[in-house]
């Protein structure tokens, strides 16, 4: 819609204030950036200012744009990290070019091939790859698979399935055999333990039967179990009077 049509429409005329200051709102908006930069000609600047004062839409628009610009002016430049240049230099000249080589010219010659392998030779990728290879080779070794055997493998699906089934049967039989052996060993061990227990019980019974006979043989004069007493000391004490009562009662001699 051109400016003439805009003016002809009474509804738009009320909104745009086209007739009052000689400037339309759309023109005002176009001039807004230049006006804030202060590069408008005196005539345009006067028309712009007049429209800003008279228009209820464009006046606040000017205020807001000016305010936003002032807010942005408060932002100061920040200092980049000190190691930034060194990091960039390390990432470009040192890492991507041979020592002493021309950084850009030499690289442009190799550009066709280098990016393909660049990712591969990054340390993280190389580490992951080597770990995966190590894990795979370890698994194959444990499973008893040899790399040289792979050349002899028939890769037809049916043959492959049979081979897998055969391998599975081998592994299963080995596991079952191992389990059976372990069970036999455990059974033998438990039998030996039971025999030992039975032998120990029989010995104890025999000991109990033998003990009363020994006691009968020894008799009452056997003092082997008593502490040794001095014969003179006990004889002296048997006839001595320790205390005697003086009452009518019969004296008690100890």
């Amino acid at each position: 819609m051109n400016s003439q049509n805009f003016k002809d429409d009474p509804k738009n005329d009320a909104q745009n204030n086209g007739g009052r200051s000689g400037l339309e709102c759309s023109q005002f908006e176009t001039l807004l950036a230049d006006a804030l930069d202060g590069v408008l000609s005196p005539g345009d600047q006067a028309a712009f200012d007049a429209h800003a004062l008279s228009c209820t839409l464009c006046g606040p628009m000017l205020m807001e744009a000016r305010e936003g610009r002032l807010w942005l002016e408060t932002l100061e430049d920040v200092e980049p990290p000190k190691n930034l240049i060194h990091n960039i230099l390390a990432a470009t000249t040192m890492a991507e070019s041979a020592p002493g080589a021309v950084p850009v010219a030499s690289r442009t010659k190799k550009r066709g091939f280098r990016p393909l392998l660049a990712g591969f030779f990054r340390s993280r990728v190389a580490t992951s790859f080597s770990m995966a290879f190590f894990s795979l080779s370890l698994t194959l070794t444990v499973a008893g698979v040899r790399v040289s055997d792979l050349a002899k493998v028939d890769w037809h699906p049916t043959a492959l399935g049979k081979s897998i089934m055969l391998q599975y049967t081998h592994v299963e039989s080995a596991v079952v055999k191992y389990y059976e052996n372990m069970r036999l060993v455990n059974e033998v061990e438990s039998r030996v333990k039971e025999l030992r227990k039975a032998t120990a019980t029989t010995d104890e019974d025999n000991d109990k039967k033998d003990k009363p006979k020994d006691k009968d043989k020894k008799g009452p004069n056997d003092t082997s179990g008593r502490p040794e007493q001095h014969p003179d000391y006990s004889m002296e004490r048997e006839d001595s009077v320790i205390a005697q009562s003086t009452t009518k009662r019969e004296g008690v001699q100890l």
Partner: protein, 200 residues
């Protein structure tokens, strides 16, 4: 003047002068870092992106025609493309980060409006205030990418409209319109938060 100096450095660099490359870095790294920082509002992201920009410059320097255009515009275009890529990668995160999202993110933390000064908007009074800068940075980060890159290139990078139009690959009129809308949106955002403080 800067472009003339850079042009000579680029020629030397293409001829195999490694020192010239460091010269280009020293001449432009601050501006590129600030551009990235204003766009991402993150020092870490800005550092990574600046590094990516110069790695890409290093790889594609041979494609730059010294006689064709200004090195600054070429470098800014390259940076802007990387920033757009970065924005697209992190778009999912930003979808939830609406303009008022920051106020809802953490009810315990002081909101943007809490940290705004109580009196009227007078940026000159707070020119040196780090807190004000932080608030403005946050508000700037919440503008839409189109408006943000336009105001950053104009008001923070001091590029002229023609250069911005070349960088963004849009007509100058669109550039001016985006700049105006970006400034207004920023002012509205900051004043709206301040009104919320007044109503509490």
């Amino acid at each position: 003047m800067e472009d003339h100096q850079t042009g000579a450095l680029v020629r030397k660099c293409l001829a195999g002068d490694a020192v010239a490359w460091e010269g280009i870095l020293r001449l432009h790294q601050r501006r590129i870092y600030n551009l990235c920082y204003r766009f991402t509002n993150s020092p870490d992201d800005a550092q990574d992106l600046t590094q990516d920009v110069f790695i890409r410059v290093y790889r594609t320097l041979a494609s730059y025609d010294v006689d064709k255009g200004a090195f600054t515009t070429w470098l800014t275009t390259l940076t802007r493309n990387l920033l757009v890529d970065h924005f697209r990668r992190s778009k999912q995160d930003r979808v939830t980060d609406s303009i008022d999202g920051g106020l809802r993110e953490d009810d315990e933390a002081p909101s943007l409006s809490d940290r705004l000064p109580d009196h009227g908007p007078s940026p000159d009074d707070h020119l040196a205030s780090q807190e004000t800068q932080k608030i403005v940075r946050q508000a700037l980060a919440r503008l839409s990418p189109d408006l943000r890159e336009a105001v950053i290139l104009r008001d923070l990078q001091d590029m002229d409209y023609r250069e911005i139009a070349l960088t963004l690959k849009v007509p100058e009129g669109t550039v001016k319109s985006r700049i105006n809308r970006g400034r207004m949106e920023l002012a509205r955002l900051l004043s709206r938060n301040k009104r919320q403080v007044g109503s509490k």
